[in-house]
Amino acid sequence: MSDLKTLSSMPGTVAAFQFDEEGRLEDAVITDDVVIDRDTLDLLGHLCVANMAIGAMQARGWEGMSDVKGFYPIQGFTFVGLDWSAVSRGRQGVVLSNDQADFDAAYKALAG
């Protein structure tokens, strides 16, 4: 697990958060509470878990019926909004401003 405080210090990051297997918010460091709150992070945690489950189903199905490989197991999910994005990996995530987002760095940092 990565340290939420370290994650939240990446450029353009407004929050780093941790959720349980259902997506419920467990812990969060919010650096800009004007744009994000704990309730929204709780919803985003559920969103990430839901989409990783959908992705796992798709990767499982696809790899089972064709020669395409390399997706399963799904390790993370990123939601790209109009101005903000949520990058998740395992049970942690960060919320980034799209203008300043470094998606690679965020995803790597979430590896712990």
Binding site: V34, V35, I36, D37, D39, T40, L43, L44, L47, A50, N51, I54, G55, Q58, A59, W62, M65, S66, D67, V68, K69, G70, F71, Y72, P73, I74, Q75, G76, F77, T78, F79, V80, G81, L82, D83, W84, A86, V87, R89, N98, A101, D102, F103, D104, A105, Y107
Partner: protein, 126 residues
């Protein structure tokens, strides 16, 4: 579609293409996926676009910071998603997808190009 060609020119991009929001249709595709796999990925992308749209709608409805009175939240309308697989990932913005090799590709470059070129895409699921 020039964006699909340009994405294929990026390091680590294995395949790229587009998909229709209705039916299992696609118009452009490049890369080493079979016809069946291309149909499958366009169907998969359409399905996830619908899921993301629903989740964006939920954020708009249920998150306090997403209410118009709070100035909107910047998560809606949803623009896209990335499914991070073990060694490959699928990136989608609007109705264009891109499969990248995690070791060789850069998510930032690919997403940056897609977001930039598709900033004004209508994104209507109808």
């Amino acid at each position: 579609m020039s964006l699909v060609n340009d994405l294929m020119g990026q390091p680590g991009v294995v395949a790229a293409g587009d998909f229709a929001y209705r039916g299992d249709q696609y118009y452009h595709h490049k890369g080493d996926l079979s016809a069946a796999d291309t149909r499958l990925i366009s169907s998969l992308c359409r399905s996830n676009a619908a899921a993301m749209r629903m989740e964006g709608d939920m954020l708009a409805m249920f998150s306090r910071v997403c209410q118009p009175g709070a100035g909107g939240c910047g998560f809606v309308p949803t623009k896209g998603w990335v499914m991070h697989g073990k060694s490959r990932s699928v990136c989608v913005i609007s109705n264009v997808y891109c499969v990248i090799d995690n070791e060789r590709g850069s998510l930032g470059n690919v997403l940056g190009m897609m977001r930039n070129r598709l900033a004004d895409a209508p994104d209507s699921l109808n």
